[in-house]
């Protein structure tokens, strides 16, 4: 790339001419205050905070004030950040923004990590001169997750730009005018968008704050933090988990350029509260009675010595699954997923490993310029991916802007040029999805017909692919094929959510018919792919296994199989031992329950749907006897030991061990501190128990320390516990840690890919299903996913639980006409909702919500009028 030379305060710097001056200056680690610019959302020039002086040439002494974020980098440009007039201008801007600012810092949840505080200090505005009335606003109730305190707003417009333009929401807006502009909803109510939680980080002030944190509030400087990975879906977004007084206090986004970037979904951000839930298993339970660790462990060893099988879990780490596999023996270890899903996952992994299509990272998805989604309601099955897909439709219109020489960071002009034009995004699902508004076309079809559409597209792209192309399919299929063919970076998205192998095969065919196409599969749980790579037989095979004892790892079988099947299965064993972090129907049936550490209390690795192995670390030490499942199950002393054992037993997972540096890693002889250096209260927090402060616990498993002592330098990204640099207390500090603004972190993005494509195209799949036929009096129960409610652990977080739907069954309004408000289904009275466009013959039911948890969906069932 050709760089431009720009003079800043008389010194020459190399800058990227595709960028604006603010971006370029920050990248060079200069301090220049800003508010409205956001690295993922570009510039709009709304706040006027980033003013610098620009000079015509060397002889120009006068210069003029320009907004750095709105001024392109140009060869030979001369600017000054320190120019007294620019300094004064920036001070005046802050003073203006502060006129109405309430005297709230001490009781403001943003305090201590407030971008407005940081920028105020940076500009040097330190004295209030304005003594007239401040304007005030009433706050709104925005739901259980996000809190509103509108007086603190500085009208930077970041919130509405993120919410409306970036995330596609439409219930948050700016109202009123002049100095009374208000950011909120038209009335009180829960924010509808699934990414609303990002407002907490996007808003540079304390207008939008984390409502779950508020209930156990702690300042950022007082938190003990560790790099972690979200466990609430298969994408594995990077998070920072934070502890105080032995309790998990909150999660924030941990920037990973390839994975989640700057944003998380609300399930991931707020689901953490399950760790503090009443339903946690905190003590071993032996035959219904609390037991202490030694007899419990003794009992486990005894059981493991006999005839035993082990059932793993897609929500347990690689290490824990491996520990169980080692304990019971590889041939008696079963993946804890039902056969149908296990086969789908295996098929996905095979397609990705053997075929030429590569899994894209979320960043790559953002840059794809034509997308076909087969069968996935992405917002509800892999939420963060939906945010990336929403950006992908801006790729083609952005090319027009580029042709008109409008730089892409000029957010507003680029959107004006694009108008309503969207890049091609095609969605084929049974029921409407939250991405439909961004799609060029959405097709509503039964699962088999979704697959048929995919097969038709692949045939149009490559005559070698099998064909079954009735006229009705030809039109839509041609449109899609055409769009994919003319794209530079086409992408196919699919997954196991509809339980259909044909859909996955169709997606593979399309991707293989398009050389260079990317293929993204969603994965249902945080380690579904990792478990699948262990190649253990499915749960169904375990049903036939003969043994006295079953050891079940972090798995509620009642959410996997119908209750009757599980009852019968568990009854066949003389002993059932369960390790889990939360109580479940399965732990209730167990003879022995061992308390397993939840993600924030554990070290381990997960493989996400991209095939990226990522490490998560303890943010807090669990209260004994809670410990990681792999510690209960094995004799390994440290994480490195079990990783070593895993690498030799399962060589194809060996690379997972390099997802993060081992425990012996040091920076200049020091560990990486989990807490900021201003961590307070060390000599008082436990003084009521003992005035002699305990020695900080040692961490044998990782190079992180349980204290504020350690290296002040930037650690490898997988070990980055939090983002902070002097003068940058808010999460915006991440600018200082990136190689390139909005690019990779300086030490490279965390995680290692362990799933790479093959070079040869395998033969096309040729099992095209026949068209879906509706039946009389019977409906195909089709899974409908809910970001809030469908996932097992986040359901236990009170905020998420409040947003979860009640059980329902959905029918096409015409078919629903024959019923009233309720129907009988599976022997239960269920309320009926109407979903326009749901294909006839399908009945949508919410996944993971009792009584639908554990059903093998899709399945046929009668629906009748309430008797």
């Amino acid at each position: 790339m050709k760089m431009a030379t720009v003079y800043v305060d008389g010194r020459a710097y190399e800058m990227d001419p595709k960028q604006n001056l603010l971006h370029a200056c920050l990248q060079l680690r200069m301090d220049l205050p800003y508010f409205c610019w956001h690295p993922a959302m570009g510039s709009v020039g709304a706040c006027r905070q980033c003013a610098v002086k620009q000079f015509k040439d060397e002889s120009d002494q006068h210069g003029r004030i320009v907004m750095a974020c709105m001024t392109p980098v140009a060869e030979g440009a001369r600017i000054s950040i320190r120019d007294p007039e620019a300094v004064e201008f920036r001070q005046a801007i802050i003073e203006g923004l502060m006129l109405n600012h309430p005297h709230d810092c001490p009781v403001c949840d943003e305090g201590g990590e407030c971008h407005l505080q940081d920028m105020t200090v940076m500009t040097g505005h330190d004295y209030r001169r304005y003594t007239f009335e401040k304007r005030t606003f009433r706050n709104q109730y925005l739901g259980p997750l996000v809190n509103h305190e509108m007086n603190r707003c500085i009208q930077c417009y970041r919130c509405v730009r993120f919410y409306r333009e970036y995330a596609g929401g439409n219930d948050l807006n700016s109202f009123s005018l002049r100095n009374q502009v208000f950011f909120g909803r038209d009335r009180d109510g829960v924010l509808e968008n699934e990414f609303a939680g990002n407002l907490v980080e996007v808003c540079p002030t304390g207008v939008f704050t984390d409502a779950t944190l508020k209930r156990h509030y702690t300042r950022k400087w007082d938190l003990q933090m560790a790099p972690s990975v979200c466990v609430h879906c298969g994408l594995g977004c990077n998070i920072t988990a934070a502890e105080r007084y032995g309790m998990l206090r909150r999660l924030v986004n941990r920037y990973n350029g390839e994975v989640n970037g700057y944003f998380l979904c609300d399930r991931g951000r707020f689901g953490y509260e399950f760790v503090n839930s009443e339903r946690r298993v905190r003590q071993p339970v032996l035959r219904g009675k609390p037991a202490s660790a030694e007899p419990a462990l003794e009992h486990l060893r005894e059981l493991a010595g006999g005839s035993v099988i082990g059932i793993g879990s897609p929500r347990a780490s690689l290490e824990s699954n491996f520990a169980l596999r080692s304990l019971v023996g590889a041939e008696r270890f079963y993946a804890g997923v039902p056969g149908a899903q296990s086969r789908l996952l295996k098929q996905m992994v095979d397609v990705l490993r053997n075929g030429p299509a590569r899994t894209p990272s979320l960043r790559e998805i953002e840059h794809c310029d034509a997308v076909l989604i087969l069968g996935e309601d992405v917002t509800n099955t892999a939420p963060r991916m939906a945010l990336s897909l929403r950006q992908s439709v801006r790729q083609q219109p952005a090319e027009i802007a580029e042709r008109m020489r409008v730089p892409l960071w000029m957010d507003h002009p680029v959107r004006e040029i694009a108008q309503d034009q969207k890049g091609p995004l095609f969605i084929a699902t049974p029921s409407p999805t939250r991405l439909d508004d961004a799609a060029a076309r959405s097709h509503r079809a039964a699962p088999d017909d979704v697959a048929r559409l995919g097969f038709a597209v692949s045939h149009l792209l490559d005559q070698g692919a099998p064909a079954d192309l009735p006229d009705a399919l030809r039109g839509p299929a041609e449109e899609i094929a055409q769009a994919l063919k003319s794209a530079k970076r086409p992408l196919i998205v699919s997954g196991p959510s509809l339980g259909s192998a044909a859909i996955i095969q169709a997606a593979a065919n399309v991707a293989w018919a398009l050389p260079g196409a990317a293929l993204a599969f969603t994965a249902p749980e945080s380690n579904s792919i990792g478990l699948s790579l262990m190649e253990a037989p499915a749960l169904d095979a375990a049903l036939a296994a003969e043994a006295d004892t079953a050891i079940i790892l972090e798995n509620d079988l009642y959410r996997r199989l119908p209750a009757a099947v599980v009852d019968e299965f568990l009854a066949r064993f003389r002993h059932v031992a369960v390790l889990d972090c939360v109580e479940s129907a399965t732990t209730a049936k167990a003879e022995l329950v061992l308390p397993a550490a939840a993600f924030a209390e554990a070290d381990g690795s997960l493989v996400n749907s991209e095939g990226r192995a990522q490490r998560f670390f303890q943010a807090l030490l669990p209260t004994a006897p809670i410990q990681e499942s792999w510690r209960w199950l094995g004799e390994w002393e440290t994480l490195d030991e079990i990783l070593g054992a895993m690498a030799s037993a399962l060589p194809h997972l060996a690379t997972a061990a390099s997802a993060a540096p081992g425990a012996s890693f040091r920076m200049d002889g020091a560990k990486v501190p989990r807490s900021p250096h201003r961590y307070s209260g060390r000599t008082a927090m436990l003084a009521q128990i003992d005035v002699h402060e305990p020695k900080p616990p040692e961490d044998r498993d990782s190079p992180l320390s349980f204290s504020m002592e350690g290296t002040p330098d930037q650690p490898p990204s997988a070990l980055q516990p939090f983002f902070w640099t002097p003068g940058w207390n808010s999460i915006q500090a991440v600018n200082k840690f990136q190689e390139e603004i909005a690019g990779p972190l300086r030490q490279g993005d965390a995680g290692v890919r362990i799933l790479e494509p093959g070079s040869q195209r395998p033969p096309f799949f040729d099992q095209i299903p026949p068209p879906f036929q509706a039946r009389d009096g019977e409906w195909l129960l089709t899974p409908l996913y809910h970001i809030f409610g469908s996932e097992e652990l986040s359901r236990l977080a009170p905020g998420i639980a409040q947003l979860s739907p009640q059980p329902y069954v959905a029918l096409n309004p015409e078919e629903a006409g024959q019923f009233g408000g309720e129907v009988d289904l599976l022997g239960q009275r269920i309320s009926l909702v109407r979903i326009a466009d749901l294909p006839r013959g399908l009945a949508g039911v919410p996944v993971g919500i009792p009584p639908f948890a554990g059903l093998d969906l899709p399945m046929w069932s009668r629906i009748s009028r309430p008797s």
């Binding site: 709230d104 810092c105 001490p106 009781v107 005030t136 400087w221 005035v691």
Partner: protein, 171 residues
């Protein structure tokens, strides 16, 4: 020899000097109000707990001997759920008082805190909270702050205009 005699002479002279030894504890010394002794938490002029649990004192404390946890009453007024000072660590530097934005935490001219048992030097909120405003009689943070609490609606703080009606069509 001479020096010995001179020393004795000086000692003798001292017998006629004014005595400055204070008969503590029978006689109490005068300590300025700004003397930095035992720390207290004060109340605002309306009798409410002044501390808003902002954690600033804890952050300022060089020996990290203040620990607290914020909580809120149902009306949104924030206060410490617990507030603990470990006086066996405190160096009475006064940084906490300096950092406090509400005048809640104050050092007092009381230094008589000797204990035989170190645990007795761990003070909880009940031990710290006094019944008056201490050195700063007039200030009530909540009257200045923009957050709504029980008894103070939006727009009712000092220097605040009434809340904007965002649905109004008037310019």
């Amino acid at each position: 020899m001479f020096s010995v005699v001179r020393t004795i002479w000086y000692v003798l002279l001292h017998m006629f000097h004014k005595r400055i030894t204070v008969q503590y504890p029978d006689e109490k010394p005068y300590l300025a109000p700004r003397y930095r002794g035992r720390i207290i938490l004060s109340r605002d002029p309306d009798g409410g707990e002044r501390c808003v649990a902002c954690y600033l004192c804890a952050a300022a404390c060089p020996v990290d001997c203040i620990a607290l946890q914020a909580t809120e009453d149902p009306t949104g007024r924030r206060y410490p759920e617990f507030f603990r000072i470990n006086f066996s660590r405190c160096i009475f530097c006064g940084f906490c008082e300096e950092a406090c934005p509400t005048y809640a935490i104050q050092l007092t001219p009381d230094f008589e805190m000797g204990e035989y048992q170190r645990p007795n030097l761990v003070y909880e909120k009940e031990d710290l909270l006094i019944n008056g405003p201490g050195k700063y009689p007039g200030y009530n943070f909540w009257r200045v702050c923009g957050v709504q609490i029980g008894g103070k609606d939006k727009g009712e703080a000092e220097n605040e205009g009434p809340p904007v009606d965002i649905h109004s069509l008037l310019p």
